[in-house]
């Protein structure tokens, strides 16, 4: 069962990594405009085909 000594801390560390990533997205303002984010995915100005 020695493997638990590695695996459990690794699992916790990975979880903490995910939490840190969430904090980063929160600080970057990614949750400030959820409606806009849902709508913006439909805008395709940036695809080369859309350009006239």
């Amino acid at each position: 069962m020695d493997v638990l000594l590695f695996l459990v801390p690794i699992a916790l560390a990975l979880g903490t990594l995910g939490l840190a990533a969430f904090f980063w997205t929160l600080r970057a303002g990614q949750y400030d405009d959820l409606d806009g984010a849902a709508a913006r995915v439909l805008l395709d100005d940036d695809s080369p085909e859309a350009a006239p």
Binding site: M1, L4, V8, P9, A11, L12, G15, T16, G18, L19, F22, F23, L26, Y31, D32, D33, L34, D35, G36, A39, R40, V41, L42, L43, D45
Partner: protein, 736 residues
Amino acid sequence: MSLAYLPGASFDDAPGPRSVCGFVESEGATRRLHLLVEGAHCAACIGAIEGRLTADPCVTGARLNLALRRLSVEWQGEARHADALAGAVEALGYKVAPFDPAHLAQLDADTGREWLRALAISAFASSNVMMLSLAVWAGQAQDMAPGTQALFQWLAALVTVPAVALAGRPFFRSALRAVRAGHSNIDVPIALSLLLTVLISLIELARQGRDVYFDSATALLFVLLVGRTLDFRVRARSRSAVERLLMLKAHGAAVCRQDGTVEVLPAEAIRAGMVVLVRAGERVPVDGTVIEGKTELDVAIVTGESLPQAVAPGARVLAGSVALTGPLRLRASAGVEDSHLADIARLVERAERTRGPGVVLADRVARVWTPVIHGVALATLCGWWLFTESGLAVALLHAVSVLIIACPCAIGLAVPAVQVVATGALLKRGILLRAGDALERLARIDLVAFDKTGTLTSGAPRITLWPEDTEAIHLAAALAAASSHPVARALHAAHPDAKPLHDCEEVPGEGLRAPFAGGEIRLGRAAFCGLAPANAPESEVWLARPGHPPARFVFEDTPRPEAARVAAAFADAGLPMAILSGDRPEAVARLAEAVGIGEWQGDLRPRDKLARLEAWRRQERRVLMVGDGLNDAPALAAAHVSASFTHGAPASQSAADIVLPSGDLAALPQAWRAARRARAIIVQNLVLAALYNIALIPVAVLGLVTPLGAAIAMAASSLTVTLNALRAGAPAEGRL
């Protein structure tokens, strides 16, 4: 209404009262402007607005926040380019207003982020601690080495302690504030339960005991935070919609300087003696005396009088009225602080002070619940310590397990879960809740008081009696096509095919005239048409033309089509109703009869309405006040619960607890039904939570609770309460 930023208009002209130049922020050569955009809903709107702005060579960035309807635009160059940019957006068909942070009750964005951060921490903690706890529980059934069990428990403690300290802060803060103020709220048992659970688990861990409840503590935190975060988000949406409304209506005043230049000032900056310009269709920003110009003045929102008044030089006008037919030049008689508007604001303040803060249902339950549970826990402690041989440590453990099992989780979730569902459903219908406990208060009303003009009536006159001569009707409609006076508009709307006459002239305050075969035809007041004014109770206009007898039109501010049905709906439910109006008593009496409301009063000034509401309060009646005018604002603030409309005066919206869609009186009984339903479900939820407790507390008192049992009980009770709450969103039966 909006006159500035017409497409193609020259922006070198004197800035209109809605110029946004004053709101530009500068940072070096970069200018930044925040605008509210009303009417943007979809991806196409984002594309159109941002595309139009970035097409401007000066603009370096434009981004529209669809949730807040807030447009941020940055450009290089002059600050006065702002009006051109705002004009460009308005030309696309969106209404814009400068974003003014002064109107925000609180910075919702920061609070929202704090809730999300706490939620994320508790989600991380509860999932990982549950993973560790499940391993321990399984290990207890099979044969995990005690050392491994202890390791897992210590790891769980390592996660739980910082998580509770960080994510539990909102609860601790609220509980501390309540305790300091000498009362109890729902957060007091929650905070106590969190602290005690963590504390006793740490002690048990140190003693290498079995009763470690870290999973319960983190799961409790997570479930409560989900409820609170959702509750906050839906309320913030509702509130920000109301704040947007207020910002869209607030604007400055065009002040004429002595050298003839026109400058736009915020309404607060106006002092007595300044000369203010009001264009046709605009709202008068301050009280004043007319020095030039003649117009019909719409005072419905200020005094409740339904018919426009003619004003001429020398007349006094009140802030909030709308110049309908012509421009005015006013001399401000007072600054904003001592205007009619400020009087109303002071009355509103007084009314709010006398009403005082209400106690929400959840906190009332907590006030009963907390002492009972703490009493049971204390009795458990004494019982085990005094009457058994087990010692203080075990007695303490059993006492704490009573506090843990007493499910503050389900009680803490019972109210927010229902409010999220009910508020969200009302928001979809366009009904905005400003006060957090508006639903609870609305559910318990026992009297409905209506304002008349604009609330029960449509606020626009309609012709109720036509002359028999069809040619006269046709001519009158043709003449009326030239005017924007409400009566003329009503006349023309009834016969839209009538072709406008040539050379039509409007005499403000009198009527319309146009050359006609054999003389002149006139449409207007009796005196204007050369007749003796009749003393009839109705309001009338006359049409005079050469060679024919004059024709008479009677017009009236007619009730909204749904008014009678709304009154009937409340009457069927056994709720008495009353009308409180500032209009003439005859008009109020006729309306009261038409919609079937027995009790009415006319000719009421704002302070009379307030006095009426305060009298009802002393009789301990819970009154729902509905009104849209500035004159209703004090009464709205004094009522048990109050509703205004999106078309109403800004002062009435900020005084009301609920804002209904523009002109939609039928939303009122719907909101009332939804509130009653929500309250019924909240009560059910509290009973359900109490039942879990009644079943489980004896088990805890006897010391038979295990961490696994506590976890199962909490999950089951929270799920029951949440599933029951989902019913609050069901569409109210019997659409009105």
